[in-house]
């Protein structure tokens, strides 16, 4: 990254024996929508609050446009922050809440008024300026919290699971709005979530954390299609995992075997050595179902679940065990019923060779 707005170097945070952050390095590009994704307890909040200045790092540094801010108090960092619990000031009206950062910065009253109106319009809450926070619904409160965090034009906006207290429909709406807001304003967003759909749908880049360590980072497409470890492949979407042996290699093209089943694997960027064993991840939607004999493997349907737009089929194969297949209901062409024999197969580039964790 040429000129990162934020750089975190070698950051460690210990709570007694627990490493909440374990040597994390991270660069954030100007204007980026970066998501920190990981299961609960993986250190997302710790990393975010270390950036915000509320968590003192045990080791390492944070810098903003090349300036070391590791020991700068939060109020000097100029980062807006949005929390899961909204954290609106209960004794202030919506207008006073949104104007708070400007009042602290001693801006003239007329400017504050205009800017508050502008920000409330931005989050479609213009009509609510004189309400108290307790008179608003959760989604409305979160919009106000967002307007408040943006009103002073922060360098970076930090969001810690801002949508997880809301119901599913509202969450989906606000995801679109957040993304649109980001594109419109061009502010750098650092977004924490444990929800993979949220991460995939909004982010320019995702950083996956586990036990305080970065597992992998990249654009959503790369993380989804080229996971490096079993953890990433499992956490982002569903995967089948196959233990195989490498039989032969021609360039990037491997022939792998599991028992008597043989199939092609694309090994671009991997050192699959002939004779070694490897673990392979295979997305359910990359598997084709056909009549028996038309693909290189044959299995028996064990269970089918209908999900509306998609249909999930659980196959059993004599060597590979259970294989999950997901096919669009509108074109599957076959009608899988439990007990039916089906052929199945995939393209070589559907397989991803995983690194040992």
């Amino acid at each position: 990254m040429s000129n990162p707005i934020l750089s975190i170097r070698n950051s460690v945070k210990r709570y007694g024996p627990v490493h909440a952050l374990d040597h994390v390095d991270l660069d954030v590009a100007e204007g980026e929508f970066l998501t920190l994704l990981g299961p609960s307890g993986s250190g997302k909040t710790t990393l975010l609050t270390a950036i915000a200045g509320f968590t003192d790092l045990s080791e390492g540094s944070v810098s903003l446009r090349g300036r070391d801010i590791t020991n700068e108090p939060p109020e000097h960092r100029d980062f807006g922050m949005v929390f899961q619990g909204y954290a609106l000031f209960p004794t202030m009206t919506v207008r006073q809440n949104v104007g708070f950062p400007l009042k602290i910065r001693k801006r003239p009253a007329s400017e504050i008024r205009a800017r508050v109106d502008e920000c409330l319009e931005l989050v479609q809450m213009g009509a609510y300026a004189d309400r108290m926070p307790s008179q608003l619904s959760g989604g409305q409160q979160q919009r106000i919290a967002l307007a408040r965090a943006l009103s002073f034009k922060p360098q970076v906006l930090l969001l810690d699971e801002p949508l997880s207290a809301l119901d599913k429909k509202l969450r989906a709406d606000l995801q679109w709005e957040l993304k649109a807001l980001h594109d419109q304003l061009g502010v750098t967003f650092i977004y924490v979530t444990h929800d993979q759909d949220e991460a995939l749908s909004m982010s320019d880049r995702i950083v996956i954390l586990k036990d305080g360590k970065i597992q992998q980072s990249g654009i959503p497409d790369t993380l989804y299609n080229k996971p490096r470890t079993r953890f990433v492949a499992d956490f982002l979407g569903k995967s089948n995992f196959l233990s195989v042996k490498v039989k032969s290699r021609e360039g990037d093209h491997l022939e792998c075997v599991a028992g008597e089943a043989a199939f092609p694997v694309d090994a671009t960027g991997h050192s699959g050595t002939v004779g070694n064993s490897a673990e392979i991840a295979l997305r359910p939607e990359r598997i084709r179902l056909t009549e028996p004999g038309k693909e290189f493997l044959t299995g028996t349907v064990k269970q089918v679940s209908y999900l509306g737009e998609r249909c999930q089929v659980l196959l059993t194969h004599s060597v590979l065990g259970q294989i999950l297949v997901s096919c669009p209901t509108w074109k599957s062409g076959i009608n899988p019923n439990p007990g039916l024999q089906l052929g199945f197969g995939w393209d070589a580039d559907a397989c991803v060779i995983l690194e040992a964790e």
């Binding site: 109020e75 980062f79 929390f83 209960p90 708070f100 602290i104 408040r148 965090a149």
Partner: protein, 259 residues
Amino acid sequence: MKTSPFRIFFNTGAWAVLAFLLLPLLVVIPISLTDTSYIGLPKEHLSLQHYENYFSSAEWLGATWTSIWIGVAVAIAATVLGTAFSIGCWLISSRASTIARWVLIVPILVPPVVQSLGFYRFWVKLDLIDTYFGVILAHTLLALPYVSISVFTALANLDRRITQAARSLGASVWQTVISVIIPAIRPGMLTGGIFAFIVSFDEIVGVLFLTVRTVNTLPKQIWEGIQESIDPTIAAVATFLVVLSLIATAAVSLRKKTA
């Protein structure tokens, strides 16, 4: 609805306890209206002479004012100190601050006589005996636990992330306390202040230990009044205080209803 014997028993019990609590309080009212010059029920007619005596006696009025302004001073001092202490503990929220909270509340458990003796020994050394400042200081220390309990209760209902939000928006710790935390806990502070006033207004043991001639509070005046004479003015004072408390209670509960 059927009335079970249990119900009757408990209802009667409840009324008996209430009567036990209230009657001694109410009996001062007829006594205060007596036409006799000693403590007793009215003989021939009702009279306001003892009220007249109260409101025209420089001694009684002086003692009343002294108690009021000492109470106000104590309320202000204890509220400021207790609030500062509680907010500090809340912001730090470590094990040490939890221990500090408990230590501050311990004085409630110490018998007043023991406490007053402690004050007395120190106040002699500090040359504070029989000074207004000495009494205010002692009462403030006695009232602090009540204020901090009340403020802690208010803080417990406050989302901790509000502090983080305020600071990320550019407010220093001090600005956060002034413009976000204090407005949110104001009801708790007010309750604490009222408690502090009552603790001071009502306090006698410490005053008896710490004052001689200069400082004369209302409880001390009443105490000395019964020692020296059996003047029904005391009943008039007591009635006046009961009425004042009733008005104050009514005002507070009305305020709560409208709020």
